[in-house]
């Protein structure tokens, strides 16, 4: 199978969706001729024209409102928030309007929009361009939250998100845009709300999201040499979360390590820990569930500090070793 990058897979998904359904359009800053800050929409304006690849002024509230308003009146917009950090300017439209209109109106409106956000750190973009805010949206009923971790996943998940009749917050990690992987050429969907067992193993369950999936895989290879076999599960969709494979895995291994980039305090790991504890897996836990996550700090500019502010491969290896050896 041919290998393309995460960014190219995204572009292909958007293109195929727009070719198939004329209600789909993209709206965001610098997505037209400029091709998007990360190049995702490059070339699309030539194919679809400025009416469907809409460049906006710097107006995140406007972009989000445009998604809400057009979605509720029959369109299927894909909004782009250039850096997930800027979503704060669009919060009213997403949280108070988009997420809630269906419910407030007695279940009588449909809001089929996708908000794509470039998330995460590692590019030296510092505190206001490196956020991981997915858990804010996990907290809002009415929204769905997706975190694709590979080129194959990102295409299938975006196509599902576009077809989804509810608002979807779609978090693309900046460091994944250039990562290559096998991606089928045709249109395919990966269902939302289904977790994926990326790797099987008996000694420890690692649940990881976004760029951490790749890092966990690398850690697993190192650990395998020491005779420690890691099972890696990628939820793919953090809301709604498919707990079944996770519970099954923890029952098998008795130990769980959650890895995510977002700050630990108030991060998704806390929610997942509680869910594991509340599930049937409780009786099979042989150690406390551990969370490996971002330090409680804004992302620093300095390259080394930035590196150590979030979990890296060696951190995953170390935590896994400790858990398996019974340090915790």
């Amino acid at each position: 199978m041919r290998e393309i990058s995460y960014m190219e897979a995204l572009r292909e998904a958007i293109r195929q969706a727009m070719e198939e359904d004329e209600r789909v359009f993209v709206i965001g800053e610098d997505i037209g001729v400029y091709g998007g800050a990360f190049g995702v929409t490059a070339g699309l304006i030539d194919q679809f024209g400025p009416q469907r690849i809409i460049d906006t002024p710097i107006s995140e509230a406007g972009i989000a409102g445009a998604c809400v308003g057009s979605a509720v009146t029959g369109m299927r917009p894909i909004g782009e928030i250039q850096f997930s950090d800027f979503v704060v300017i669009a919060m009213d439209q997403i949280v108070m309007q988009g997420a809630k209109m269906r419910f407030m109106f007695g279940g009588k409106a449909e809001l089929p929009f996708v908000m794509r956000l470039a998330t995460g750190s590692g590019t030296g973009a510092a505190a206001q361009h490196s956020e991981s805010l997915e858990n804010w949206f996990v907290h809002i009923p009415g929204l769905k939250v997706v975190m694709p971790s590979s080129p194959y996943d990102v295409k299938g998940l975006l196509l599902s998100s576009i077809a989804e009749n509810n608002p979807v917050m779609f978090f693309e990690h900046k460091l994944l845009y250039k990562v290559k992987g096998p991606v089928p050429e045709d249109m395919y969907t990966i269902p939302l709300g289904k977790s994926h067992v990326v790797r099987e193993g008996n000694n420890l369950t690692i649940i990881a999201t976004s760029v951490m999936v790749m890092r966990a895989q690398q850690a697993a290879e190192t650990l395998a040499k020491e005779g420690i076999e890691i099972e890696i599960i990628d939820p793919r969709t953090v809301k709604p979360l498919d707990m079944e494979p996770i519970i099954k895995s923890v029952i098998k291994t008795g130990k769980a390590l959650i890895v995510h980039e977002a700050v630990k305090t108030g991060g998704f790991g806390g929610e997942l820990s509680a869910l594991i504890m509340e599930s049937e897996a409780f009786d099979y836990l042989d150690a406390p569930v551990q969370r490996l996550a971002g330090l409680d700090m804004p992302i620093p500019y300095n390259r080394t500090l930035e590196y150590h502010a979030v979990p890296q491969v060696e951190n995953i290896v170390e935590e896994a070793r400790k858990l398996v050896k019974g340090v915790y």
Binding site: F282, D283, Y284, D286, G326, V327
Partner: protein, 412 residues
């Protein structure tokens, strides 16, 4: 038509208002919309307006009074009208009906209580044990008491692997698979359960040392026989057990450590000598107690023993009959047992096992080869080595022997 003036509800959660100031008085003519009274609310004071033009009448509350919202506070009358009946104070209003019952299984937060699956609760170990959920589950399934398991986890936490090793049974194998065919199943409940728990605990916690002494019972048997000849009443006759009880009580007085209890960090040597005499019932062993046996004479002890025995047979023992024992005597001699070792009855520190009286040929004290036929009874004392040492236990037994072989003190 008279018009009621209602105290309005101004805020979401407001329940009442305080009357702050009447801007108009009883009998004043007011126009629709005129403010007539100032009241307090959750935030600030508000004015209530006249709903109609007319005469303000029937003011019900004065300054400083707290009035519930939606209550009638006054009326607007048209000339010539009178106030309506003072009967109804409040207009009927709908109450918010928020009935959040636990009837929904679609509601995430209103989870119904699921009854716990059954699992075996072992006797409570002292203090708490750190063990992982997995370890606890395996312990439950294999019926292993976590108290006995050594934990290899952080801080001695018991982990799954510790429990599996402990039992050394491969997981998922039912330990009951190897039993031979069952004739009868007796549930471990009630007295049987209690005895099981107590005896296991006793053996587990108290290091038992056993001492034996053979006593020539001829003197005491003769004394008894002589004494009982003159006694008419059957139940006043002195039994051997009564004599032994009295002898034990007196012997304890010389070695009080025998009559003690171990409490967390200290040994309590007890004042009262309450001797329990084990009796076998169909359901199991019970131990009725002779309280303050040292203060009773032997005939009284005998009477009491008989009474306890007959009541025990008729299931009429009271809790006080069985409580506060400080020393126990157990007699299997009557069943033909030569000698045996009894298990200490916690929280006591010693127990005396009484064997059967048997004829033996006893050599004379002198060097000559002369043998006399004697009635010999072997007493076996089990004592808690945490509380006393061999010397003290020996002391007691020797004293007991002396008392029984020279029984004057018993029959005093």
């Amino acid at each position: 038509m008279s018009k009621e003036i209602i105290l309005p509800k101004f805020g979401f959660t407001q329940e009442e208002s305080e009357i702050l100031e009447w801007l108009k008085n009883e009998g004043d003519k007011v126009e629709k919309g005129d403010p007539i009274v100032v009241v307090s609310t959750d935030k600030i004071s508000m004015e209530v307006e006249a709903p109609e033009t007319g005469i303000l009448s029937g003011i019900k509350h004065g300054i400083g009074e707290i009035v519930p919202v939606t209550e009638i506070i006054a009326y607007i009358l048209q000339p010539g009208e009178v106030l309506p009946e003072l009967g109804k104070k409040k207009l009927e209003t709908e109450k918010d009906k928020i009935s959040l019952t636990n009837s929904s299984n679609k509601s995430q937060n209103m989870a119904e209580k699921i009854s716990e699956g059954e699992y075996i609760k072992r006797s409570k170990p002292e203090g708490k044990i750190g063990a992982t959920p997995a370890a606890r589950r395996i312990a439950r399934e294999l019926k292993v008491d976590l108290f006995n398991v050594q934990g290899s986890g952080p801080g001695g936490r018991i982990q799954a692997v510790d429990v599996s090793l402990e039992k050394a049974i491969p997981e998922k194998q039912d330990p009951l698979d190897d039993l031979p065919a069952v004739l009868k199943e007796i549930p471990l409940i009630g007295i049987r359960r209690k005895i099981a728990d107590n005896m296991a605990r006793s053996v587990r916690e108290a290091p038992h040392m056993t001492l034996q002494i053979d006593v020539q019972m001829d003197a005491i048997e003769n004394a008894r026989k002589t004494g009982n000849e003159n006694v008419k009443k059957r139940n006043s006759r002195i039994s051997l057990t009564a004599a032994i009880v009295k002898a034990v009580a007196l012997a304890i007085k010389t070695t009080p450590i025998i009559n003690s209890q171990l409490a967390s960090e200290k040994i309590l040597v007890l004042k009262d000598i309450n001797i329990g005499v084990a009796a076998a019932l169909e359901e199991g062993l019970i131990v009725p107690v002779i309280h303050k046996a040292d203060l009773l004479d032997v005939s009284r002890i005998s009477i009491t023993l008989n009474d306890l025995a007959s009541r025990a047979r008729e299931n009429q023992l009271k809790p006080e009959d069985l409580s506060n024992g400080t020393f126990t005597i157990s007699n299997l001699g009557m069943l033909g047992i030569d000698r045996f070792t009894a298990i200490i009855n916690p929280p006591q520190s010693a127990i005396l096992a009484v064997g059967a009286i048997k004829y033996q040929l006893v050599p004379d004290e002198s060097e000559d080869l002369i043998f006399t036929k004697k009635k010999i009874l072997t007493f076996t004392l089990s004592a808690d080595h945490r509380v006393m040492d061999g010397a003290q236990a020996a002391n007691f037994l020797v004293e007991l022997k002396n008392l029984l072989q020279q029984p004057e003190k018993i029959f005093k």
